[in-house]
């Protein structure tokens, strides 16, 4: 198992008391595509960040087990974590606009990530960067390498992010809403690209998204989260016919192109 999470609790200490955010999540991930879906505030991103120990200091994390490839994350030192982050597990974030450095060229940023993990001369790194850009199907990699992030489109920026993550050949890819900032056609391309790379390299993928139909088409397994808990876990192909009332509620309240609804049903929530 690449990732094993058992009974994970995350909460925040604050001036007004303790606020629990993740309340007992258990997940496992091998070399497969696992999707986590849920609304904002359901704790899906926190779970992924806890796995990389990327949470602020005042966070309280407890778990019976939180392991990446047998390494206990909870007791791992910063130094140990640095050999995992980026190198063994890549993190793709939502918006390339905010995740790339605006004052450095794209080539130098990809080269930097390559050099940090593999060493070598600057020139070799830049060549490797151009190769990586080619691998994520950028048509003119030389030109893109010498451009700045604001000069490329959102889809291109996301490809660059993926190229950076691929540099150290990670075993796990965590993608946190990788396509929510993109157009439908670009979204389809980026997902196809991630899918190809994941299956070619035998990586595990943790895809976090609020888009149920997208996840059901793209992943092998899906965990549906609500209010810090996993409501249900099921095969992705069965997601659209899920039985759990919360999952059904989410599916029903989406407007549909082929099955028009006079009025959209809304969720009624229990306070707890």
């Amino acid at each position: 198992m690449l990732v094993e999470i058992k009974n994970l609790h995350i909460g925040f200490e604050s001036r007004t008391g303790f606020a629990p955010a993740v309340k007992g999540v258990s997940l496992t991930l091998g070399t497969e595509k696992l999707g986590i879906v849920g609304e904002s505030g359901s704790g899906k991103s926190l779970t992924a960040r806890a796995l990389m120990k990327l949470l602020p200091k005042q966070t309280r994390i407890e778990a019976d087990k939180l392991e990446f490839d047998g390494i206990d994350i909870l007791s791992a030192s910063e130094k140990q974590m640095r050999t995992i982050r980026g190198k063994r597990a890549g993190f793709i974030l939502q918006d390339p606009k905010y995740s790339l450095n605006p004052v450095k060229t794209i080539g130098s940023q990809v080269a930097e990530s390559w050099r940090a993990h593999k060493g070598g001369s600057k020139r070799a790194a830049l060549e490797a960067a151009i190769n990586l850009l080619e691998m994520v199907k950028i048509r003119d990699p030389k030109k893109v390498a010498s451009s700045y992030p604001h000069e490329v489109s959102g889809g291109m920026g996301q490809r660059v992010m993926i190229a950076m993550m691929l540099a150290p050949d990670p075993e796990l890819l965590i993608a946190d809403e990788p396509t929510s900032a993109l157009d439908a056609t670009v979204q389809a391309e980026i997902l196809r690209l991630i899918e190809e790379l994941v299956s070619e390299r035998g990586m595990g993928l943790l895809l976090i998204s609020h888009d149920l139909p997208l996840v059901s088409h793209f992943c092998d397994r899906v965990a549906v989260m609500y209010s810090g808990r996993v409501m249900e876990e099921l095969k992705a192909s069965e997601l659209l016919s899920a039985q759990h009332p919360y999952t059904r509620g989410l599916l029903n309240c989406m407007p549909s192109l082929i099955h028009p609804k006079e009025r959209l049903p809304v969720l009624t929530r229990d306070p707890e």
């Binding site: 609304e39 056609t185 389809a188 989410l250 192109l257 959209l264 969720l267």
Partner: protein, 247 residues
């Protein structure tokens, strides 16, 4: 209020981004514009709202040509709601202050009563009135943005991706609210979105934009049935349908 757009052209510097767009919207109807980023759909909306004074062609409301620089009374008739409820509300002003801005500018009476009424129209509790935007959820903030547009008692609402920053559950609430407001107040909508199902849900007619051109106008019904001509419309429709169907 009827809307006529005729051969609208908009350039930024030397670059033409809207290349002759024409469409009409009947009184009380809702027209949707779909397209990808950079297709010029929001630029059309901003020109209609009077936020951009550099355009040529014709924009007419109720048969009257809108001048390049709009008179103040125009902004009581036509209001706009923006995409991002986080960015479009002043972070240091209370909801009360945000909502009283427009009535103050236009010298309207009974501001207190108007705010109370508009808050209940968008189903926000009266207690939200003295909160700051950061104390509200994304859906509540979008309701405030809609309330701010409604307080002018407009006849036209221009909606720029009003639900794309929201969860599907919250999106459903906002779409229902917009549908109710339209029928209650006989509002005319022009909505921009990249999501075909959202557009087809709220609008009766749809225009598809690509690269500054409006390449096709169809009814939502024809879009659902697939009676469409242009390749780009087909592509957008098939992507949307593909996701809806079980894998």
């Amino acid at each position: 209020m009827t809307i006529e757009i005729d051969n609208l052209r908009i350039s930024f510097g030397d670059k033409e981004v809207v290349k002759g767009v024409s469409f009409n919207v009947a009184n009380g109807a809702s027209f949707g514009i779909v397209g990808e980023s950079g297709s010029g759909k929001s630029t059309v909306l901003r020109a209609m709202a009077g936020l951009n004074n550099e355009w040529s062609g014709r924009i007419a409301f109720s048969g009257q040509d809108a001048p390049l620089v709009r008179p103040p009374a125009f902004f009581r008739k036509v209001q706009m709601v923006f995409q991002d409820p986080y960015g479009s509300l002043h972070p240091r002003q209370t909801i009360d202050r945000i909502l009283s801005e427009l009535p103050l500018v236009h010298g309207m009476d009974d501001i207190d009563g108007r705010i109370a009424k508009v808050l209940s129209a968008v189903a926000l509790p009266q207690t939200a009135r003295f909160r700051y935007p950061h104390q509200l959820s994304g859906g509540q903030r979008q309701r405030v943005a809609i309330a701010r547009a409604l307080i002018a008692e407009p006849e036209v609402l221009l909606l720029d991706e009003p639900t794309s920053a929201l969860d599907v559950s919250v999106q459903a609430e906002i779409l229902n609210l917009l549908a109710d407001l339209r029928s209650e107040r006989n509002l005319t909508y022009v909505m921009v979105s990249h999501n075909l199902s959202v557009i087809a849900h709220l609008c009766t007619d749809v225009g598809v934009m690509i690269d500054g051109h409006m390449v096709e106008q169809v009814t939502a019904e024809d879009l659902r049935l697939g009676n469409i001509e242009h390749a780009h419309t087909r592509e957008l429709r098939s992507l949307s349908v593909e996701l809806e169907e079980p894998a």
